[in-house]
């Protein structure tokens, strides 16, 4: 073993580690023959002796009491006190998501502000969901041509004629009106048509022969159905 290896092992030997027994014996054999390593070993021995014999620092007299007082304060802070502190702790836990956001934004806000902001946020969110659930209004009527056509459909009055709207057709097409219309004489009808179109007494529009009431009623019903189908078709195509 050379000097370098011996000096590497000297510290371990001095420290009393459980090193290799053979390595220790080899180091000791080298020390007996090498003066330089002996000097080195003695210097290490002195250093270690000084370190081991130096007095341990003595803590100040009131240090233990001071630490214990601090521990008691920590313990009191952790201890739940009453309803108010529980409520505060509960609010703090609820407000944690906002507190995390504020920390990420590096906003050093007081805890009371964070709690108040969290409370306001949850109140607004609750109000929104309550309105959505319970106070949703009736659906608005459909706009556009479909709604207009539907309103017209209600006001279309059936007549015996195949086409055209006679004067006074804006009146509601009630069953009574139908009845009165069916009871109207053909001559009166023709006169009204002529007056509507601004014609003189020349009967340009000659109504058909009066049909029986049953046939007429059947015709009205089928015409009504046809008109309904017609308007429905318009509605769907639009």
């Amino acid at each position: 073993m050379n000097c370098e290896q011996t000096r590497e092992n000297l510290v371990l030997h001095r420290c009393g580690t459980d090193g290799s027994r053979e390595a220790q014996i080899t180091a000791l054999r080298h020390l007996r023959t090498c003066t330089a390593c002996q000097v080195e070993y003695e210097a290490l021995w002195h250093t270690a002796t000084v370190l081991e014999n130096v007095e341990a620092p003595v803590p100040p007299p009131g240090l233990a009491a001071q630490i214990q007082q601090g521990i008691q304060q920590l313990h009191q802070q952790r201890k739940p006190r009453g309803v108010a502190s529980r409520l505060q702790r509960g609010l703090t836990q609820i407000a944690n998501p906002l507190a995390w956001c504020f920390d990420r934004l590096q906003l050093d806000l007081p805890p009371q502000f964070v709690n108040a902001a969290a409370l306001l946020f949850y109140v607004l969110a609750s109000a929104f969901f309550v309105k959505l659930a319970f106070f949703a209004g009736a659906p608005e009527p459909e706009l556009g041509l479909t709604a207009m056509e539907e309103s017209r459909l209600r006001h279309v009055r059936m007549s015996r004629a195949s086409w055209g709207m006679l004067k006074g057709a804006d009146k509601a097409h009630t069953a009574a009106a139908q009845k009165s219309e069916r009871a109207e004489k053909p001559a009166d009808t023709a006169q009204r048509v002529n007056q509507f179109f601004g014609l003189d007494t020349v009967n340009l529009w000659i109504p058909r022969a009066v049909e029986t009431s049953d046939t007429l009623q059947h015709e009205v019903q089928t015409a009504d159905q046809k008109l309904t189908v017609f308007w429905n078709h318009i509605k769907t195509s639009l």
């Binding site: 002195h46 803590p59 630490i67 601090g70």
Partner: protein, 188 residues
């Protein structure tokens, strides 16, 4: 004597007085560690307090796999490392001052350990030499020579292998030998 684990269990259950008993038992050792690591009494007292506060806050994380003292040493080492990181410039000023004092005082004299009559001076000289060590070497020297821990315990505190502890101790002792050799006779 009641083992530390009993008091730890009581502390976990909410008994603060049980932790006070642990403070009484271990505060001197932690103070000694902090003093060797930081070099001044004020910093050592602050670090000691901080160590016990941290231990109390994280007492529930103690898993009883090692001695409570070993776990406490680990917290103390971490606390001292934080202090060292914050106070590096102050430490350099302190060692420069003590170097100057040491050179003026004992520059040409060589004393054997037996001739160092003033214990305070001896302590200060040793502390100065330890202060100039790198933090890793300072830790192992303090734990081995001042706290009298074994290699296995030091490895557990520092979370490293025993070989690493031995290596650091080897280097630390060589560095200290250079710094302390002028204060004692070398054999002719």
């Amino acid at each position: 004597m009641i083992p530390d684990d009993v008091y730890v269990h009581k502390t976990v259950e909410g008994d603060a007085d049980a932790f006070n008993e642990l403070v009484t038992r271990h505060h001197a050792k932690i103070y000694g560690l902090a003093y060797r690591m930081l070099g001044t009494a004020d910093d050592a007292a602050d670090a000691t307090q901080e160590t016990f506060y941290e231990a109390y806050k994280s007492i529930k994380s103690f898993q009883f796999q090692s001695q409570f003292g070993t776990w406490l040493y680990r917290i103390g080492i971490n606390t001292c490392q934080q202090y060292l990181r914050k106070a590096r410039s102050r430490e350099r000023t302190l060692t420069a001052y003590t170097d100057e004092v040491a050179v003026r005082g004992v520059a040409s004299d060589k004393y054997s350990p037996e001739r160092l009559a003033l214990k305070a001076e001896q302590k200060q000289i040793v502390q100065d030499a330890i202060n100039r060590l790198p933090p890793k070497q300072r830790e192992v020297v303090t734990l081995f020579y001042m706290q009298h821990l074994k290699y296995r315990e030091i490895a557990e505190v520092l979370d490293c292998s025993e070989g690493t502890v031995a290596s650091r101790l080897n280097q630390a002792l060589k560095n200290l030998k250079k710094k302390l050799s002028k204060y004692y006779h070398s054999p002719e």
